[in-house]
């Protein structure tokens, strides 16, 4: 049987080449000329990377638990956060720090969370955003629910969620696409295709040409972008968010990037991943090309880079200090695990809380 179901085309967008030049022969969006904005986002990408490196170091020295690095995803992440309005709602997976920093999540929140302290999820400056979500792809349905709430309340707000190449195989994500179609939700679903789901390569998730085409199941606009190209990611995100806000329905964006780090600090990617693949991926990484672009445009230089790196390093250190002070000098009491489960704790929990208070220090060691 021959059919024409595979004659569709998922468009792929790239504007900024690996060499830092705009891609020839492609209509580049106006934001490519907004150097001030690009510079600010570049700075955030750099800070995110500085932060990331520090977090990994903290884990290595026993000061942080398992940590999921965002190395290599900075352009994609920052674009997501930057395209959203404050009143929009973000439902992250677990490594989109760049996006979250745009939203007001603090570096010390990230450290507290991976440092095993629930206070990391109390985003003071991003009060509506969902917490980090470990059960893969479930966040996509939470975002769909948020989008439905906005739609029912006639609020001009958009929900945005991210899932991995691995997570895009999961029913939760696929049902979210269907829901987005059924309710015409103001929702943007991003597939962060970083080529690996821990040790499982993209090619093992399925044999379709793209992951974006999963959106076709719901008749959604579905595109791919170079996830290492800030301009492409930002353009796609802004188009998608505004289309969703305007009631034109949900959009699926596959951002094609690469996980330059181990999956988490608990992983050792050399067990399953060829060195030369990683090496090649470094050639395409997002920071350097944007730096070249900005430098060529006269908006950046080595001195600025050094100054900013120093500043970012200080900011990161302040976050680390705050984190360590919190967990070391102001740890959560044993009662904290009872105080937020219900608004009004039931009697049996109150009894257990009183009992637990007798063992405030028990089991500090593993």
């Amino acid at each position: 049987m021959t059919d024409r179901s595979n004659t569709f085309k998922v468009d792929y967008f790239q504007f900024l080449g690996v060499d830092g030049n705009l891609v020839q022969g492609v209509k580049v969006p106006p934001l490519a000329k907004d150097l001030d904005r690009l510079k600010e986002l570049y700075k955030l990408m750099v800070k995110t990377r500085v932060f990331d490196k520090k977090a990994v170091a903290l884990q290595r020295t026993g000061k942080l638990g398992t940590y999921a690095s965002s190395l290599g995803h900075e352009a994609a992440h920052v674009a997501i956060g930057s395209a959203m309005k404050k009143e929009d709602c973000f439902a992250p997976m677990y490594r989109e720090y760049g996006a979250q920093f745009c939203r007001g999540v603090e570096m010390s929140d990230v450290l507290l969370y991976w440092g095993g302290d629930e206070r990391g999820n109390d985003f003071k400056n991003a009060p509506h955003d969902f917490a980090w979500c470990v059960p893969i792809a479930t966040q996509c349905l939470h975002a769909a629910g948020a989008a439905l709430a906005f739609k029912l309340r006639k609020e001009p707000r958009v929900a945005v969620s991210v899932v991995g190449d691995g997570g895009s195989s999961k029913g939760d994500f696929l049902e979210a696409i269907n829901a987005a179609s059924a309710y015409e939700l103001p929702l943007v679903l991003i597939i962060m295709n970083n080529q690996w789901a821990i040790s499982v390569p993209r090619s093992s998730q399925n044999h379709a040409a793209t992951l974006a085409q999963k959106g076709i199941a719901g008749g959604l606009t579905s595109i791919q972008v170079d996830g290492n190209d800030l301009i492409a990611c930002l353009w796609a995100m802004e188009e998608a968010v505004e289309a969703a806000r305007a009631g034109k329905g949900a959009v699926v964006i596959e951002m094609i990037t690469y996980r330059l780090s181990d999956h988490t600090t608990a992983d050792d990617a050399t067990r399953y991943r060829p060195d030369d693949e990683v090496k090649a991926a470094w050639e395409r990484e997002p920071l350097i090309r944007l730096r070249r672009y900005l430098t060529q445009a006269g908006a950046w230089d080595d001195a600025k880079e050094d100054a900013w790196t120093a500043e970012a390093t200080q900011e990161v250190q302040a976050a680390v200090d705050h984190y360590l002070d919190q967990v070391e000098n102001h740890p959560q009491p044993v009662t904290a695990m009872f105080d937020y489960l219900f608004k009004e704790p039931p009697h049996d929990l109150i009894e257990q809380r009183a009992y637990a208070e007798q063992y405030p220090e028990d089991g500090g060691h593993h």
């Binding site: 709602c89 439902a91 629930e118 206070r119 999820n121 109390d122 985003f123 009060p127 509506h128 969902f130 917490a131 059960p135 479930t138 996509c140 349905l141 939470h142 975002a143 769909a144 629910g145 948020a146 989008a147 439905l148 709430a149 906005f150 029912l152 309340r153 929900a159 029913g171 939760d172 049902e175 979210a176 269907n178 829901a179 059924a182 904290a336 695990m337 937020y340 489960l341 219900f342 608004k343 009004e344 039931p346 009697h347 049996d348 929990l349």
Partner: protein, 326 residues
């Protein structure tokens, strides 16, 4: 003031809650035009419109996951699983998100959702329509589990469940949806979500049950009364949190307890109650605590389902064994 059935008590509470709070939204398969396969949502879409009563695509994970998302963003979704068996795909979102949202975010986000579904057997329904999975939900932290056994309790407990700021699983014993009618005043009065209901006072033995098995339990108590034995009958109603105090106080007076549960015995709610008695109630016990339960096998297709569920005779035999001990 009309006499209504248990399921009408459900409908009445839903309408009242929707009336008083515009953030309450009912969603599920066939809850709209069709008014639910049991008519629990009958008339609601007509009255409140299809932005308050939403028919969903056929996807239980989606219903649960979107309810979590809506609840976290200020709505009060009252989701329906069409039958007990179809709540299983929802467990992930209930256990891993609904019950954790507030705790996870140190109170920043919460999850004031209700998941309702008809449960239990005895109505000649097909496979997967007749289970009693309350023990699964009762083991999950952060989740309340409620099962009414009368029209008034259906009304008062569902109102409380919807108004509650945290997630509630509301299981409706479908076998007694239309068993008894009683007068229910639609006065918006809710019932507490953490107390047992003593349906009948007695000093000789305590019978503890909930949901549709209340029917057989009361019948057994009637039979005992005709023999001059006074059974106290407690309807647990709120499975989680469980009001053990009322049960222990009662057994403190009667010294004997039989627990009647439709679900399989192993690791069921009856076991939790018996365990509570083996701890805080031990010194009152004059006889072993017996559990009369569904068997630890699959709920059979309908032709055998009543053989599976505790009968009045099985309950009486267990009671006799407990009374025999002196």
């Amino acid at each position: 003031m009309a006499e209504i059935t248990l399921i009408e008590g459900v409908t009445l509470a839903l309408a009242r809650a929707m009336e008083e709070d515009s953030s309450v939204v009912v969603l599920g398969e066939d809850v709209g035009v069709n008014g639910g396969v049991f008519r629990a949502t009958a008339g609601l879409q007509q009255r409140f419109g299809n932005e308050r009563v939403l028919d969903t695509p056929l996807a239980e994970v989606m219903i649960a996951g979107m309810s979590v998302g809506m609840a976290a963003q200020g709505m009060k979704p009252v989701a329906e699983a069409q039958f007990c068996g179809f709540s299983m795909p929802m467990i992930d979102h209930i256990m891993c998100h609904a019950g954790r949202m507030r705790n996870r975010t140190r109170g920043r986000l919460s999850c004031p959702m209700v998941l309702r579904f008809p449960s239990g057997g005895g109505i000649h329904a097909p496979e997967h329509h007749s289970e009693s999975p309350e023990a699964l939900f009762a083991h999950m932290p952060g989740i309340r589990v409620v099962i009414p056994s009368s029209p008034a309790r259906a009304y008062g407990l569902l109102l409380a469940a919807i108004r509650d700021p945290d997630p509630v699983i509301f299981m409706e014993p479908k076998r007694i949806y239309r068993w008894q009618k009683e007068e229910v005043v639609d006065d918006g009065e809710e019932l507490p979500l953490d107390v047992c209901y003593t349906l009948r006072d007695g000093s000789d033995i305590t019978l503890v049950s909930w949901g549709a098995m209340i029917k057989e339990t009361l019948a057994a108590a009637d039979e005992l009364a005709s023999r001059g034995i006074q059974a106290e009958v407690i309807d647990v109603a709120t499975i989680s949190p469980l009001d053990m105090d009322t049960i222990i106080e009662s057994v403190g007076r009667t010294g004997r307890c039989v627990i009647i549960q439709e679900a399989p015995k192993h690791c069921g709610v009856a076991s939790e109650i018996a365990a509570g008695l083996a701890d805080a109630g031990l010194y009152s016990l004059l006889a072993p605590v017996k559990r009369v339960c569904g068997y630890d096998t699959v709920m059979p297709l309908y032709r055998s389902e009543m053989k599976y569920m505790p009968s009045v005779r099985r309950i009486l035999d267990a009671i006799d064994a407990v009374l025999e001990v002196s």
